[in-house]
Symmetry: C2
Subunit: 471 residues, 2 copies
């Protein structure tokens, strides 16, 4: 029994030291800890943290981590708790470090098109600040009201406009982070070109808080894009969907901001559940939602209509509905975003977030379909995704909770066989860690371990996320 | 004397082991080593390597590094030798590892818009392969015929289209690299979205060969851009040049592919030396070369002319010459590229490659001008640069070699004071290492050291480049 007691005493000492260092108000303990610190949006593996540290400045983050590191106290970093991979859900014996008090826009530079913000600032606050300055911060996703910019960067978030503006990594110019031992590394670069030594921010983008805690960021802004053209197309095959993508990229270039493909099973199920009507008369094997954004509605619309007209004439698309109003565009997007409506009806359901090379995508979908049908005749597998950025989502259910583990193995093994990524935009966290080997080699995982050991030798930061650091 | 002998014997052993492992033909020694392995394009600190290892495959790179690591033999990695920072120039006692035998395009995927190539492939070969497939690889610079794609990635090269397509980092999807101990880490990802664990390629992009040797890469391609609009504008002030930039970004969006600013002293000197005529009648404090690339010449030209016409009417620009032919455009670019013509006349000259935040740029240029003039009355300082990506070049000379070190101190100290980068696109190498502290904090340099120690514990790879790894 002694080791257990010793362990409990050490944790209490760490919390006492944190309260002494940061003030009792900055460290929630016992009944002060609300349920919101217990689990991320996945809802899985709920677990209360030992305490919640709420630093108000980078210096306080540094002080808190220095204390935890000295005590070997494990820490889970928390932003808006909107993740879907379990990364910010506490594990047994962890203290939560929440960035919720570190919010605010520090600076908007309308000439250089940059914005600096504290890590706990909600994405929507950043978006609105950019909009109020007549500019655009193009990172966007459903969780915008709750997710934080620090969390977006730590998970290298994707979202709706990746085809045009890239993932979060492409939108970060500078970063400040605190290492596990409390060292502050500030690289608040505002410049597009900078090759003065290692680009250290890359260590903290997409590493899910395992190498350091992001405290501030310099973000790229863009000119606002007032015009928008939207269409929903029916295509006869996946090959046609790919040909259409290439045609639109050649004709519309970087103004193409969305290219969303829905397989018929997904499309039909959404219509059935939501009562939305199809803007196309006939049924098709696949549907594609295309959107461009630009500067002049009339000129952009003419170019858009021309490109689609030519695609119709050359039989790349079978039919197309071009949005004539914002209401039309919203209708098309409601079908695409129907995933939010249908998942409650499908419960228990797994929504996969994978990437597959374009030349493998058709074979991947077909392989997964047949493997799932062989294992579970009558299984539901609804497929849709951003496609142009390789990202596919699959909503899969047999209606039985107990089948989930086998379904994961079936899908992730096929992702691996087709050289895909088991996590496209949601990250690995704890929930996908067991499947990482399908996408990454032992040499790669071993290098991740080497980095982890170099930056967090006591292994206190987000332990047990992304990969197993111990072997 | 003994330590010296011991050292020589160990080096000979390493070379013997390399010849045994890779075959004598793969290891040049003594008279077999031509001068091309002795110095990069900077021409400074020429030094013959002890031997030149020329592996023909990733496995041979791995075998060579494993041998060198076992012997503690220092290695300098060499691509096209077109660098300007001394990074690939051997230092005393180093063996050169040249990627020159590892050339070739492995794969072009015209649906996914990706291209895979071996690291030693010249940039121009990659560009031509993309062009032959009807596509575009947009990384471009003067050294295209000799520089290699591996070197471009290792130095995170910039060039002419950064404002539109980003630096080399943004064009790399996947990478294979060999660590100092011979471990092969292959992450040949072809997908835009992939958050399955750490993005390990970031360790090798822009770290100038200090953390590993790049052996293969997956690159992003883009649709070809057949149309081009070019103009040369005269503006009355730097503030006007910035306003013009913002106007063009809002009006022309991501089709803007070049925004090159020339200060009058540079412009006038180029005309004087080259005999080129100005396309504008009057003289102006600054000149701006603007270029867009797109898909339809007529529509693009109309939009381009409109945007410039409005800028003229609202007095943002004082005068503009719009290219009416390829010959006109070439003429405008010859003035911008006049740096190649004028440097031989300015010898001895330093051409700086720095970045400065846009809101500091005007003050930076003025501070440098007055500090240089105070130190050396009558000094020449010609300023021009990509500007929109923060990059400025300064060609500085007093005509005396002996003044160079002081001039560097003056310029780099001002870069530091204005939160700029002492290397924008050319990298640090050995030549800028003494000035790194002007752009990076001790905490940042210490973290670089931590990474170096984790990935190359014996310090055999490109030692003495980027930062001092020893303290």
């Amino acid at each position: 029994m002694l080791p257990k007691n010793v362990s409990i005493v050490r944790m209490t000492d760490a919390i006492a030291a944190l309260r002494q260092k940061l003030g009792a108000a900055a460290v929630l303990y016992g009944d002060e800890i609300s349920v919101r610190y217990e689990v991320d949006y996945s809802g899985e593996n709920r677990c209360p943290p030992l305490a919640v540290v709420r630093p108000a400045s980078t210096d306080e983050v540094a002080a808190a981590l220095a204390v935890c590191n000295a005590y070997g106290q494990h820490v889970v970093v928390q932003g808006g708790m909107t993740g879907l991979a379990g990364g910010s859900t506490p594990r047994d014996g962890e203290i939560a470090l929440s960035l919720e008090r570190m919010t605010g826009i520090e600076d908007i530079d309308t000439a250089a098109l940059t914005l600096s913000a504290l890590a706990g600032t909600p994405l929507e606050v950043v978006q609105n600040a950019a909009r109020d300055a007549g500019l655009l911060f193009p990172l966007d996703m459903g969780a915008r009201g709750s997710c934080t910019i620090g969390g977006n960067i730590a998970t290298n978030a994707g979202g709706n406009e990746v085809i045009r503006f890239g993932v979060a990594r492409n939108l970060v110019l500078g970063l400040e982070a605190v290492l596990a031992d409390g060292t502050v590394v500030s690289s608040m670069n505002k410049m597009l070109k900078n090759n003065s030594g290692y680009d250290l921010k890359q260590l903290f983008v997409g590493t899910e808080g395992t190498l350091g805690v992001i405290t501030r960021a310099v973000l790229r802004l863009f000119p606002a894009l007032p015009s928008r053209c939207t269409a929903l197309c029916g295509v006869a095959s996946f090959a046609a969907a790919l040909e259409l993508l290439n045609t639109m990229q050649s004709r519309l270039g970087s103004s193409l901001s969305a290219y969303e493909v829905m397989w018929a099973a997904y499309f039909d199920y959404v219509l059935e559940v939501t009562g939305l009507r199809s803007p196309l008369e006939a049924r098709f094997p696949l549907y594609v939602l295309i959107e461009t954004e630009g500067f002049e509605q009339a000129a952009d619309q003419a170019q858009f209509d021309d490109a689609l007209g030519d695609a119709l004439e050359s039989d790349i698309i079978a039919d197309a509905a071009i949005a004539q109003s914002d209401k039309d565009a919203q209708h098309f997007w409601e079908i695409r975003d129907g995933i939010g409506e249908i998942t409650p009806r499908m419960y228990p359901v797994i929504v996969f977030d994978v990437s597959v090379p374009l030349d493998r995508m058709e074979a991947f979908v077909s392989d997964v379909d047949s493997a799932l049908a062989t294992a579970y005749p009558g299984i539901t597998n609804l497929v849709f995704g951003h496609v142009a950025d390789n990202n596919l989502h699959l909503a899969v259910t047999t209606g039985r909770e107990g089948d989930m583990a086998t379904i994961c193995e079936i899908v992730y093994a096929r992702v691996g066989a087709h050289h895909g990524a088991i996590a496209a935009e949601h990250g690995i966290g704890t929930l996908r860690l067991p499947y990482l080997h399908y996408s990454r080699t032992p040499a790669e995982i071993s290098l991740m371990r080497r980095l982890k050991k170099a930056l967090d030798p006591r292994g206190i930061l987000n332990a047990g996320r992304v990969f197993d650091a111990s072997p």
